[in-house]
Amino acid sequence: MSEVLDLTVAQLVQKLITREISAVEITESYLAQIESQMHLGCYLSVWHENALKAAKEADSAGAPSPEFPLRGIPLAIKDIFTTSYGTTTCGSQFLHEYESPFTATCVQRLLDAGGIVLGKTNLDEFAMGSSNENSSFFPVKNPWDVSRVPGGSSGGSAAAVAARTCPVALGTDTGGSIRQPAAFCGITGFKPTYGRVSRYGLVAFASSLDQAGPLGLTAEDCALVGRVISGVDPKDSTSVAREVTRWEQPLPESCKGLRIGIPKEYFLSGIDPEISLAVESAARVLEVLGAERVEISLPHTEYAIATYYVIAPAEASSNLARFDGVRYAKRAAGVESLEELYLRSRSEGFGSEVKRRILMGTYVLSSGYYDAYYLRAQKVRRLIQQDFLSAFENSCDLILCPTTPTVAFRHGENSASPLQMYLNDVFTIPTSLAGLPAVSLPCGMHSEGLPIGFQLIGRPWDEHRLLSVGQEFQQETTWHSGVPIGILSSSSSGESSKARVDA
């Protein structure tokens, strides 16, 4: 049933409503596709039996409706979200067989809306990485070119959507981990305003930066899934009580008179020229639709990476202190003291990037260094945010820029130097530091056969306008419809399953 696989969530919902297809048929198609794309390493666990059971229940319950907008729609969930079914590994040996006693709020909201979980996707360990090479299980391959990375840390989710193993997936974005893999994999990735989506059950990496969000084939699908998961949650005190409107119903003529800020600092040297050209073309499309381009300056842009790599590891070192081998998950065998229990459980459980970031965080928070690093970085963070807020106040309604400085790189290409890997996030980190909503949309193809994405950044809480512009852009362009060669052919990869399957 490969004709199902290239449908969007919106199209699948229509077919379910008209009873042209059943939830079971849809789920079976995606499960078969997961099987045939196993070699990409997108999934850490597949809920074969549970998904089919949920699909049967969806068919009995009825068609999608305003109360159950995702009824019968399969989805994949990044394995950083706790689920009471199956395992939650965070891509780490520390949690490799961990079964959570509770389900994350945003996953529960998807289930309550009728969504069917196909499985948990692969990721960089504890969401730390930009290539999905830091998964302690196996790396993920980019469906457009298997010698390349899908991006990270939501690499499994991005590749899963691009490979048509699910129409939409949930990911998380701390410094770009939804947007960058979306760009590398030729799909749409959306990060809401910080505080829109509950982080209850989102295993914490950096609490002031982490946000959950969807990756999908279209801005419309991301808008629907995004608003289903959004909304205040009493279990997350950083979630904010703000009305969530129907983002998947675009505001009419969202581009007319829209002032689009182009930050001059984002177009300095270091970007692949084909990316600059593709992003420039995207800006032109919006101009044709009625928008007006304005040059803006975000003067503290050059300090964003340094700021992030002080703050995020600091918060990570604190958040990962809970993994101590005492109450759950990994406990090292044969230890003789409590101290040895901590040391060995953590050393055996954590990969090298995680250890590196824990040590970085411990350093910047330690006595004598706190003011020089952490406190200073928090002040620079305010200046970075102020750059954006001033631009929105004085000059523009949305900001447009590239998502990444390069297209997907080869496996191992950036592994020599962690700093080199960190520099990949130059265009996504500032938005995260400022807490703003942003979406990455496909806007071209590189001569090397790899997708290019561009970013739209909005005012705080202005997701409706942001996603309306994204939807209008996708009505005028077809970049988001691209499918990697061979993905929709019926042949199986022949590779045995590396993912854990429940049946």
């Binding site: 961990y98 503290h300 101590d324 109450r327 901590y342 953590r346 954590f350 590196r356 200046l383 705080p460």
Partner: protein, 98 residues
């Protein structure tokens, strides 16, 4: 210049309760050295009079009513404990017997 050396890395490893092999100490010393050299550029920023940004939109303590919430999955949580004695978690001896 950043002052990251292997002695510092060993101290940080101890503070973070992460045991490192010698090769890991060397590798982390090298990578953290270059990372913190990069981070030094933050010293060039004029932060006079700037308040630190702790929460992006200035939210602070969020309270709820002090009422008891029933939690019913105690057994499930206890089933995750690596070693236990009834509802107590068993760990290596912490206090000297003498």
């Amino acid at each position: 210049m950043s002052n990251v050396d292997s002695q510092l890395i060993e101290k940080l490893a101890k503070l973070s309760r992460v045991a490192l092999e010698e090769a890991e100490v060397q590798e982390i010393t090298k990578s953290l050295s270059s990372i913190f050299e990069y981070v030094e550029q933050l010293n060039a920023v004029n932060i006079a009079g700037v308040e630190p940004l702790r929460h992006v939109f200035g939210e602070s303590n969020c309270f709820r009513d002090d009422t008891v919430d029933a939690y019913c999955d105690r057994d499930k949580i206890l089933s995750l404990v690596p070693e236990r004695s009834g509802s107590l978690i068993r760990v290596p001896l912490v206090i000297d017997q003498e």
